[in-house]
């Protein structure tokens, strides 16, 4: 027994010493690498500046970088530039990256069997907006691993190629756990051009109720909520017609809330009777509709807004008072306060927020 214990103690002591040595060697090696990288990075950054300012040409810049075969480092080095530049500058840096052979290298990595390498390649090629890699990136959708799906979707969306819009939406709804917000955030990368496609899909949904289930394998309210938010993000006025049409349909109240938020963002009047939404049982719909009415200044609803000042929900009352203020209905609000009618406190609150003295001298 004692012998076994002695062996165990020797083993544990040896392991502890070994870990300590690994720790110190690892630490010193990293420190050394960091110093090296710092120096190289300074030199490389200076070269990139010269190239971007057209002081040196593509060949000169490319020859300088081609000497470095550490593609992983080069990828990390170029990433911030890809984020920073747009338009002509983006094209210029992309041409250099292409000339160095980095794109070819990562295209080959995209076919690698190593999952991590494949994902890193997809992410980088997406940032480079490399359309030629799209088919290979889209193959990642065949996987059931969530990180594969999200990486591929981000990469494709960054290229802005709307022909991949449908498979991306389908994959995100079915194979990821992303929230609506995250899906919307990702999809807006495709750019405003995608909005026409979304309108087309909604019109197809009007023709056939099962369109979203059949084509995106997802429930209507999920897909519609995301689409409506995207219209709001781009303040896409051409979507007003389908939005109004959706409001008329017997759809999930959650979508109606999204629609009013989008209408508020677009800020244009629509040809629809909003009174029924002001009378909705759902307080969020009432409040969002009230807010929208204030934004577009639809004075025809002001008498109903006065009624909403005493709504059982604080936010509805608040937006009603705010909308009346925006529509410059100060006299009505003052009269409510002076006569201490229901909603007086809310009107007072809005006046105080705007530092407005509603009582004239002597009152």
């Amino acid at each position: 027994m004692i012998n076994y214990l002695n062996i165990l103690i020797y083993f544990l002591s040896f392991s502890a010493i070994l870990i300590f040595l690994i720790l110190i060697v690892f630490h010193l090696k990293l420190k050394y690498n960091e110093l090296q990288i710092e120096t190289i990075q300074e030199e490389y950054s200076a070269k990139i500046s010269s190239y971007m300012e057209e002081n040196i040409n593509l060949e000169e810049a490319a020859n300088y970088f081609t000497g470095d075969i550490n593609y992983v480092f080069l990828k990390e080095f170029f990433n911030p530039y890809l984020k920073k530049y747009e338009g002509k500058k983006f094209k210029r840096i992309k041409t250099l990256i292409h000339r160095i052979g980095l794109i070819e290298y990562y295209r080959s990595k995209l076919k690698s069997k190593n999952r991590k390498e494949k994902l890193r390649a997809a992410s980088f090629l997406g940032k480079l907006r490399d359309s030629d890699s799209l088919d290979n990136i889209a193959k990642l959708f065949d996987s059931n691993k969530k990180l594969n799906i999200i990486t591929a979707a981000w990469a494709i969306s960054e290229t802005g190629e709307t022909r991949y819009l449908k498979p991306v939406i389908k994959a995100l709804f079915n194979k990821s756990n992303m929230t609506y917000e995250a899906i919307t955030e990702l999809l807006v990368n495709f750019g405003e051009e995608m909005c026409d496609d979304l309108i087309k899909y909604i019109n197809l949904y009007f023709d056939s109720k099962s369109y979203f289930i059949n084509n995106f394998k997802s429930e209507d309210f999920k897909v519609l909520s995301v689409f409506v938010d995207i219209f709001g993000f781009f303040r896409y006025e051409k979507s007003l017609k389908v939005l109004v049409k959706l409001l008329d349909k017997n759809i999930d109240p959650e979508i109606k809330i999204h629609i009013f938020k989008t209408l508020f963002k677009i800020g244009k009047p629509v040809n629809a009777d909003l009174l029924k939404f002001l009378k909705s049982d759902n307080w969020v719909i009432r409040s969002q509709c009230t807010k929208y009415i204030g934004k577009i200044g639809a004075a025809q609803y002001s008498s109903y807004l006065v009624r909403l000042l005493k709504d059982e929900n604080w936010w509805v009352g608040y937006y009603a008072a705010r909308s009346l203020w925006k529509m410059n209905k100060i006299d009505i609000m003052r009269e409510i306060i002076i006569n201490n009618k229901p909603g007086a406190k809310m009107c007072e609150y809005i006046f105080a927020q705007h530092n407005f003295k509603y009582l004239q001298e002597g009152q």
């Binding site: 720790l23 929230t179 995250a182 936010w315």
Partner: protein
């Protein structure tokens, strides 16, 4: 007879030491791979893009404060500077007996405000709600004293956003920490709660409410806690989260979905371990509701806190923590070996119960028994001592492994000298500090049984001092 009892206790204690250290070594490995996976995710997904447009989730930060007049303003100013697109700060003055509320009124230009709120969770009476005229996203609640849990509940009631974050008034948050801790709520609808890492700020260089340089304290007691925080609070928790069995989110820094926090009933005001109790109850309620859920722990969103520098204060803190642990486990005992809760019920809960909660009994009696075995020379003491030595070596190995993983992942301690010092601390910590800790925890357990509640207030210095 006496000899046999003594030897039996010796062996049980040693087996216990081996179990706890081996479990933590396994958790460290799970944590290491989990962190590497997280880092790959971080490389692939651009966090700035996730929050660049208007689809982020706004956040209410609740800061409970009790007698914090010295540090409150400095800390609120640092929270106001955090990098997050839309957030409100709700400071809850929990009936402080010093000048906390006056200090806040003066420094932040507060005015009373008739903000509507729902009493979703019962709390002590709210005297006033103030809004800052200088900082539009700052709200201050002045309420009757009800304890930390009660203050947090009042904050939850007033919070206007779907996510609520609790931050201790005496903590500092890294500027990117909010973005990182909210990210899982955006990318995974199942996430209902997320915890961040708490690190030690003593001796760090702090400027404008931010930790500018991580320094290792010159005080041995603080260094011991650095190793302890790495081993148990960083890798231990990441490891449990990797096994989908996280049972605690630190009260110093955590984010919850408001809806589920309210459904779970808010913070328990009858325990000193309201943070752990909430997570356990959340597990129970979510499990009962049948909704898929996840409680995650993120190693990178970092919250910095000051740890006790005096043995007496540390002792009080540890006794209180142990009491809180016991109360939390007893309030949620139906999870114990309950297969409905998966690994949380079958592995994590029993581990916390037998090893973490009851462990100090074995530790204290084990040490006494080993000493008696050696003093009385009852035979077999050679084996017992070798066993004890092996278990101590295992503890050292565990602490060094934690340190190595820290270096391979976050590398907060940049100086070689600091790493060498920490390595020696990892050895020394097993020879005295751990034993004292066992005694404190043992007393905590005794106080739990005798219901003797003691509230320890830690002496704090201004971070920038």
């Amino acid at each position: 007879m006496f000899n046999n009892i003594l030897l039996t206790v010796d062996y049980i204690a040693i087996v216990y030491f081996v179990i706890i250290n081996v479990t933590y070594i396994i958790l460290n490995f799970v944590a290491f791979f989990s962190i590497r996976k997280n880092q790959l995710k971080k490389d692939l997904l651009d966090i700035d893009k996730t929050f660049s447009s208007e689809f982020y989730k706004p956040l209410s930060i609740i800061v409970p404060a009790y007698n914090e007049q010295e540090t409150i303003s400095e800390n609120i100013k640092s929270i106001l500077k955090l990098n997050y697109p839309e957030f409100e700060i709700i400071v809850v003055n929990d009936g402080s007996t010093d000048n906390t509320i006056e200090k806040l009124k003066e420094d932040f230009n507060l005015k009373t405000f008739n903000r509507e709120y729902t009493r979703d969770i019962e709390t002590e009476e709210i005297k006033n709600i103030y809004k800052s005229l200088s900082y539009p996203n700052l709200v201050v609640i002045d309420k009757e004293n009800g304890g930390k849990g009660d203050a947090l509940n009042a904050g939850v009631n007033v919070a206007g956003y779907p996510l609520v974050c609790n931050i201790d008034a005496d903590s500092l948050i890294d500027s990117q920490a909010l973005l990182r801790i909210v990210e899982p709520f955006v990318n995974d609808w199942r996430v209902v709660a997320a915890g961040g890492t708490v690190r030690i700020a003593n001796s760090c260089k702090v400027e404008n409410g931010k930790v500018k340089k991580v320094n290792l304290s010159k005080k041995h007691l603080v260094r011991m806690q650095v190793i302890e925080y790495l081993r148990a609070f960083l890798f231990g928790r990441v490891g449990w989260a990797g096994l989908n069995s996280l049972l605690i989110i630190s009260g110093a820094f955590g984010v919850f979905k408001k809806k589920h926090l309210i459904k779970a009933g808010g913070y328990n005001t009858n325990t000193v371990g309201e943070d752990m109790e909430l997570v356990l109850r959340l597990n129970r309620k979510m499990n009962k509701s049948g909704r898929k859920y996840r409680i995650v722990f993120l190693p990178e969103p970092v919250c910095w806190t000051q740890v006790p520098e005096k043995l007496k204060t540390l002792g009080k803190q540890r006794k209180r923590w142990h009491q809180g642990l016991g109360e939390s486990l007893f309030y949620n005992f139906q999870m114990f070996f309950n297969y409905n809760y998966g690994t949380s019920g079958l592995v994590a809960f029993p581990f916390y119960f037998f090893i973490e909660l009851l462990g100090p009994i074995l530790e204290v009696f084990g040490y006494i028994s080993i000493i008696l075995t050696v003093i009385f020379g009852i035979g077999g003491e050679g084996v017992v001592l070798l066993f004890l030595f092996s278990s101590i070596m295992l503890g050292i190995l565990l602490s060094l492994t934690s340190l190595l993983f820290e270096e391979m992942t976050f590398r907060k301690y940049e100086k070689t000298k600091d790493l060498i010092t920490l390595s020696f601390t990892a050895i020394l910590e097993n020879l005295g500090y751990k034993q004292i800790n066992s005694i404190w925890r043992f007393i905590g357990l005794y106080k739990l049984i005798t219901r003797n509640e003691e509230w320890g207030l830690q002496e704090r210095n201004s971070f920038e001092e």
